[in-house]
Subunit: 354 residues, 3 copies
Amino acid sequence: MHASTPRRLEEIATHVGGELVGDAGLLISGLNGLVEAGPGDISFYGNPRYRRQYEATRASAVLVTQDAEPRDGVSLVRVSNPHLAFAKLSSLFHPRPSYTVGLRPGAHVHPEARVHPEATVMAGATVERHATVGARAVLFPGVYVGEGAGIGEDSLLYPNVTVREHCQVGARVILHASCVVGADGFGFAFNPEGERGPEHFKVPQVGIVRIEDDVEVGACTTIDRATIGETIIGRGSKIDNLVQIAHNVKVGPMSLICAQAGVSGSVELGTGVVLAGQVGLVGHIRVGDMAKVGAQSGVTQDVEAGQVVSGTPAMPHQEWLRMSVALGRVSDLLKEVRTLRRRVEMLEKKEKGG
Amino acid sequence: MHASTPRRLEEIATHVGGELVGDAGLLISGLNGLVEAGPGDISFYGNPRYRRQYEATRASAVLVTQDAEPRDGVSLVRVSNPHLAFAKLSSLFHPRPSYTVGLRPGAHVHPEARVHPEATVMAGATVERHATVGARAVLFPGVYVGEGAGIGEDSLLYPNVTVREHCQVGARVILHASCVVGADGFGFAFNPEGERGPEHFKVPQVGIVRIEDDVEVGACTTIDRATIGETIIGRGSKIDNLVQIAHNVKVGPMSLICAQAGVSGSVELGTGVVLAGQVGLVGHIRVGDMAKVGAQSGVTQDVEAGQVVSGTPAMPHQEWLRMSVALGRVSDLLKEVRTLRRRVEMLEKKEKGG
Amino acid sequence: MHASTPRRLEEIATHVGGELVGDAGLLISGLNGLVEAGPGDISFYGNPRYRRQYEATRASAVLVTQDAEPRDGVSLVRVSNPHLAFAKLSSLFHPRPSYTVGLRPGAHVHPEARVHPEATVMAGATVERHATVGARAVLFPGVYVGEGAGIGEDSLLYPNVTVREHCQVGARVILHASCVVGADGFGFAFNPEGERGPEHFKVPQVGIVRIEDDVEVGACTTIDRATIGETIIGRGSKIDNLVQIAHNVKVGPMSLICAQAGVSGSVELGTGVVLAGQVGLVGHIRVGDMAKVGAQSGVTQDVEAGQVVSGTPAMPHQEWLRMSVALGRVSDLLKEVRTLRRRVEMLEKKEKGG
C-alpha cells in the first residue's frame, strides 16, 4: 500500500532484537503472510498449526521461534515472539503518515479553545469553547470535541468521531470513525405524574468519560458518560467496533473488548480482562483481573480473577464445554429414559406376578 | 461538573414535594451517590440493598422513603420515590445549557428550509430544502436533516446525527450522536434475471420514520424508514445505544429498549414494553403492553401483554429459570441414566436367570 | 411520499412482463400493501398466508401468481413473482431523485482528487488527495473519502459515511449513513516489555477494503481494512445495519447479512450465503455457497455449502429444532429419572430380599 524503502535483513534482525540465520545483506521490501509472500518479502511463523504454509512459503525471509527447522534458500530471523516481531517490523515499514499541522480552512475552532500549534484540525472538524487539543493530535473531518473536553498528545480522531463536553481523552489514543464518547447514560426514573402524564423522567447524566493513555476505540463504539463521576477506560485497553460501554463502567488497564460486546452500567472490569465478541454483562458486577469471557456469553454475576467463563448464564468454561456436549445428547436421553421406564415396568410386573 | 448555586434544604424539599426532617437552612451545593457524597451534598436512599451505604454516607442530607430510619447528623427529606426525587433535583442543579440562537456561520441551510428563529443550527450542520426545525431545537455540527424532514420544538440533535428525507421528529426529542433515522429498510426481491445476471433487486423504501414527542434515541442507533407507510416510535419511549429498529416497526408509547437490541421488520411493541440488552425479535410479531423480554433473548412469536419472557427461543421467565437450572444438571443426568441402565440390565439378567 | 404520475394498468403489466386480466385503461396512482391499499392503488399477493387480506383488499389492481383466484371488481396482473414485480413497479413510481451535479460550496475536495464532473459532492463532504469519484456518484454532507480511495459510478454515500484511505468502492454501491469502511482491524501482539511497560502492540493494518459493484451496506455497519491484503465484499451482496465485518474477511457475491451480525477475522463466506440477525462467526472459518445461519447463532466451525445451521454452537437446523424441543423437557426428565431410580432401588431390594 505505502511504498517503503527496502531494508537489509541485518538491519531488520537488529530492529526486532533477533538472531540472523542467513543472508545479512538480503534486501527486504515488504511484509506478508506465509501464503501470500513472494521474493523480497519477509513473513512470520510462530504457530506450528501453520507448519505446512511455512514449508511452502515463497518468502525470502521468515521470523521464526528458536526451535523452527531451517529451510533451504530461506533466511531466518530467530526471535522469542515472531508475531510481535512482525508487528514491530510492519510499524517500521509503514510509519504513521504525517499530516499538515495547524487549523485547516473550514475547521471550526472556538476562539477560547486551546489547540496546540503542532496539532492538526482538518476542515469540517469542530473544537468547542475551553476544549484542549494536544501536540501532534489529529482531528479528521467531522470530528466534534465538545466544550471543555480534552484530547491528549499524539491522539488520532478519525472522521465523524464525537467527544462530548468535558470528556477527557489521554495521549496516543486512537478513536475510530463514528465512535461516540460521552453520550448520555441510559437512566430514567418512572414518574406516574409528569406534566404531560406518565413519563420516564430523564436522570441528568452530568459525569464524564475518561479515556486513559494508549487506548484504542473501534468504529461506531459508544461509551456513555457517567450519571455522576466518571466512566473510565484504563490505560492501554483496546476496544473493537460496535461495543457498548454504559455509564459509570470502569474498564481496567490492558483489557481487550471484542466487537459488539455490551457492558451494562457500573460494571468493573479488572486488569487484562478479555471479553470476546457479542458478550453481554448485566449491571453492577465485577470481572476480576485476567478473567476471560467466551463469545456470546451472558454474564450475570461476578467473575473471579483468572477465571474463564462461557455460556448464558455464564459458567466456568470447562463446565460449559461439558454441558454443550451433554445438551447435544438430550434427544437421545429422552428416548433412553423412555426405554428404561418400559423395562422397569416390565420387571415390576414380573416381580409382582412372580 | 457544572458549577451551580447552593440551595437551602427547605427549597429542595419543596421542589421535590417532600417532608423535611432536619436543618431547613442547610446549604446543599451538590448531588452524589451515598458512597461518593461528602459534606454539602445530598444523596438518595430508596433500596434497602444499599442500607450499609446509607448508614455510612457522609452526605449532609439524604432523600429517603417514609420508613427509612433517621441518622444522627444527617438531614432527611422524605418522599415517595427517592430516585425520582433525586433525578428532579439533579435537573434543578444542572439545567440544560443554553445555546446561542440562530444559524451559525458554516451551517448549511437551504433557502427553502424553514428554521425557527429561536432554533440553533451549528457550523457544519445541514438542513435541506423544505425541512422544518422548531423553536429552541438545537442541531450540533455534522447533523443532517434531509429534504422535507421535520424536527420539533426543543429537540436536541447531537453531532453527526442523520435524519433522512421526509422523516418526522417530534418535540423535546433527544437524538444522540451518530444515530441514523430513516435509512432504507433491508428489503430485496431475488431476481434470477437481472440486467447483469442474478441480483437482489432493491425494494424501494419510500415510507418514513415518525418519532413522537419526548422520545430519546441512543448513539449509533438505527431506525429504518418504512417500505411504504411509517416506522413509528411512540411518545415518551426511550431507546439506548446501538439498537436496530427495522422498517415498519411500531414501538408503542413509554417503552424502553436497551442497548444492542434488534427489532425485525413489521414488529409491533405495545405500551410500556421493556426489551433488555442484546434481545432479538423476529419479524411480524406483536409484543403486548407492559411485557418484558430478558437480556439476550430471542423472541420468535407473539408475547402477551404483561408477560415476562427469557431465553432463545423465548419462554415464560419462570420456565426459563427452571430450565436453566435443569440444564446445568444434564451432564450428571447422563451419568445417572447410564448407571440406571446397568442396574436394570443386571436385574433383567437375574430375573431371566432366576 | 413522492408524487408520481398515474399510469395505465396496461403500461404497468408491460413493465413487469405480466398478463393483464381486467381493465387495461385503469389509472394506477400508487402502490401499497393489501391492507393499506385503496382505490387507485396496486398491491401484490404472492403468499397464500395473506389470502384473507387479498380477499378483503380495496386495491384497484393486484399483482398475483398464475393460480390466484380472480376477485370481482379487482383487476389482476399475473406474474411469476409478485413481490419482485411489485419492487420493479415501485422503482418505476419512485425513481431515484436527481441531485444537482458538481461540487457544492462548502465541499472540501483536494485539488489532486479526481471527481467526475457529473458527480455530486455536497457541502461538508470531504474528498482527499488522489481519491477518485465516478460519474453520477453522490456524496452527502459529512461523507469522508480518504486519500487514494475510489468511489465507483452511480454510487450513493449517505451522510457521515467514512471510507478510509485507499479503500475501493465499486459502481452502483449504496453506503448508508454513518457506516465505516476501512477502519483498522482489531489486531495486537502482546508485548511484555513495551517502552512504558506491558502493552498490546498495535499490528499495523495496512491492507484495504474492496467493495464490489451493486453492494449495499447498512447504517452504522463497520467493515475493517485487512491487516495486509484485502477485506472483500462480493458483487451484489447486501449488508444490513450495525453489522461487524472484521479484517481480511471475504464475503462472496450475492450474500445477505442481517442486522447486528458479526463476522470475525479471515472468515470466508461463499456465494449467496445468508446470515440472519445477531449471528456471530469465530475467525478463520469458511461458510459454503448458499449456506444459511439462523438468528443469534454462534458458528464455531466450517459450514458446508447448502447447509442450514442454528444454535450456539451452531448445528444442523433440524438437529437444533429437535434439541430445542428436548431441552424444554429436561426438568421433567430430571423428575422422571429420580422416580426411575427409586423404582429400580425397590426392585433391587426385593431381588436381594427375595
